[in-house]
């Protein structure tokens, strides 16, 4: 059966850094109701090496994360295995690195995407900023349509 993982990560105790987590939590009920058994939702503070094994169990993985890059609202881009970030700190393990590790250790390469949602404030407190909330809602709408399209097109797999 074709299975999709939505994986939000970040620290919800650091304002907009929790965008990926909040998105995953908001998506959870919708995904379970709409596509029972076909969509899993998970969250964590950050990506780490064991995620290589986790993503190996899915055909598609969507990583959701806060972004401080110069983007408008959000971006949705494919993730390819990359050696470019192999010199890293533990706080900066990238989806591309996890995909690379999955490929090398488990010889599997799910189709992976990164949903990068624009954040603004990163101080030590809970709750998203107003602008981040707006970006969250835009990305939720987009993501629901995207997942519906993918899973309806693969319902016989």
């Amino acid at each position: 059966m074709y299975k999709l993982l939505l994986y939000g990560y970040g620290n919800p105790g650091r304002q907009d850094d929790g965008l990926g987590i909040v998105l995953a939590e908001e998506m959870y009920e919708w995904a379970v109701d709409r596509f029972p058994g076909k969509v899993d939702v998970d969250t964590n503070y950050q990506l780490n090496i064991e995620d290589a094994e986790k993503i190996s169990q899915y055909q598609m993985v969507i990583f959701a994360d806060a972004s401080q890059e110069n983007i408008e609202t959000f971006t949705f881009t494919p993730v390819s295995p990359s050696k470019a970030t192999i010199e890293f700190t533990m706080h900066a393990m990238s989806p591309a690195y996890i995909v690379h590790l999955c490929q090398d250790l488990f010889q599997l390469q799910p189709e992976c995407f990164l949903l990068h949602i624009k954040g603004y404030e990163w101080e030590m407190k809970e709750g998203l900023t107003e602008n981040a909330e707006k970006n969250l809602h835009s990305s939720l709408d987009f993501l629901k349509k995207k997942i519906e399209t993918v899973l309806l097109n693969t319902q016989n797999q």
Binding site: E87, T89, H91
Partner: protein, 484 residues
């Protein structure tokens, strides 16, 4: 003309830091410093909040070691709710916390060894930098890399099942815990499908130790001599002298093994430990008051714990401990790279403790919380993976926190890390005209041995390249390199 080399950040340590090495005209190292960017705002942040929120709030500090802060805060608040001074919980309360803590220890140490350090042991300090990472490990020794991943996963599952969830877990509360371990949860960890079960974790922990010992056997001069220097060592030990990472008394020994802090009550830590501020670093320099700044600094963490304790209360780890102690004829081990050896023994010990705890029927008890007469001040100390962690809170009559003081593990190791950097810089950089990648990495290897958590920044804030700056005595930049 003197030169200043700056390495920023130090790669493969948790958070980021900056190393500055001062050199004279003849490329001799004159001084080196490890600058730490440590987040200290938390202590002010919790003031005015209800005390029972602290064990969850403190997890905002870091995505690397949230369980350590969660448990240290809970232990301090046990005192405040009148649940004793760290040993007054119900059996299930203490044992669930221990399971959470040993699970965290296991996964944290595993991550450090397999992910951060094993590349150096597989390919050497002067190996190809493009190979010296876990992807290189996967290509050279796939089994080792896969074991590292699955051991991490096992530890994370323990945290999830004991803390309630992976992010902002709530398992430990003042006076106890809010859940026990169900039979189904226990069996998931104890008898899970291969390889995710406790027996396999013990077996793989032994294999990882053998991997290190084989490397050590073949590279003794380098492993033993690399950044080795005498120091004091401090940790918690159980009252009978056993290694105990959850509760005990404070013990410190000097480089010869003489007791310089003799099993004192950690609630009185401020009688014994002082912190020095130096203008060039954000992180303080702790020392034992009675020995003074010059002689009172000490190491914490795996090496210190095995130097202070008398024995390890699990059979396989005890056997390894005896071999470890015999290597230095029973004296304290002051070799920096032996932190890895000690860490691997602690991985094995953690796996054994986890297996024992999972077989303990107390974990299914419903007697979760103890409360007694309210107090207005509490201190909680645990051994975090990186070393001794202190949490100290005071509250007012409205249950609001009025004071918080944290001394984190990496802070204790500030002076030793600086000494390790200085030693390595002299050894590898002195007299050289060009700063090569192996030389840079040697400095980083010395710091990584201490497994520092330099900044509790988020991943979004932690993305920084490796930056090197060479500055002359006239403050002019002589050279600049950046490694993405």
């Amino acid at each position: 003309m003197s030169k200043k080399i700056t390495i920023e950040p130090v790669t493969r340590v948790e958070g980021h830091g900056k190393v500055t090495i001062f050199m004279d005209d003849k490329n001799n190292v004159t001084q080196s410093r490890l600058h730490i960017v440590e987040f200290r705002g938390f202590e002010r942040f919790v003031q005015g909040r209800p005390y029972w929120e602290a064990p969850v709030l403190v997890q905002r500090l870091c995505g690397i070691c949230p369980v350590s802060h969660h448990l240290a805060a809970a232990k301090a608040l046990d005192v405040i709710v009148g649940a004793g001074n760290g040993d007054g919980l119900t059996p299930v309360g203490e044992k669930m916390r221990r399971l959470m803590h040993y699970g965290q220890f296991f996964q944290s140490h595993v991550l450090h060894f397999f992910h951060l350090s094993s590349p150096d042991f597989l390919f050497g300090i002067d190996g190809d930098p493009l190979q010296r990472n876990i992807i290189g490990v996967a290509k050279a020794n796939k089994d080792l890399a896969v074991q590292g991943v699955m051991m991490r996963k096992f530890g994370q599952e323990i945290i999830r099942l004991t803390a309630g969830k992976k992010i902002h877990g709530t398992g430990a509360i003042p006076g106890g815990i809010n859940k026990n371990l169900t039979i189904a949860e226990r069996d998931e960890l104890l008898k899970g499908p291969d390889p995710l079960n406790a027996d396999k974790m013990v077996e793989w922990s032994q294999a990882a130790l053998e991997f290190f010992k084989n490397y050590h056997k073949a590279n003794r001069p380098q492993v033993d001599g690399f950044a080795a220097f005498p120091s004091n060592h401090l940790s918690l030990v159980r009252k009978d002298g056993a290694l105990d990472i959850y509760h005990g008394v404070l013990r410190a020994v000097d480089a010869e093994g003489n007791r310089i802090l003799d099993d004192v009550d950690y609630h009185e830590y401020d009688k014994y430990i002082e912190e020095e501020v130096r203008t060039w670093s954000y992180m303080k320099f702790p020392y034992l008051k009675h020995l003074g700044k010059e002689n009172g600094w000490y190491r914490v963490g795996p090496l210190a714990r095995l130097n202070t304790c008398d024995f390890i209360p699990t059979p396989l780890a005890q056997k390894e401990f005896e071999e470890f102690k015999a290597y230095t004829n029973g004296k304290p081990n002051n070799m920096t790279l032996h932190y890895h050896w000690a860490r691997l023994i602690e991985i094995l010990h953690s796996a054994e403790v986890i297996r024992d705890l999972l077989n303990d029927p107390d974990l299914q008890s419903d007697d979760l919380v103890v409360k007694g007469k309210k107090q207005y001040e509490g201190v909680g100390v645990i051994e975090a993976p990186r070393g001794t962690l202190f949490h100290h809170y005071k509250i007012d009559e409205n249950d609001l926190i009025t004071m918080a003081n944290l001394i984190v593990s990496t802070t204790h190791n500030n002076e030793p890390m600086n000494r390790a950097v200085n030693f390595t810089a002299n050894e590898y950089m002195g007299g050289q005209q060009n700063i090569t990648e192996p030389m840079m990495n040697a400095v980083e290897v010395a710091i990584r041995a201490y497994d520092p958590c330099l900044s509790c920044a988020t991943h979004a804030l932690g993305q920084m390249p490796l930056e090197m700056t060479l500055i002359g005595s006239d403050e002019q930049i002589l050279d600049y390199k950046i490694k993405d």
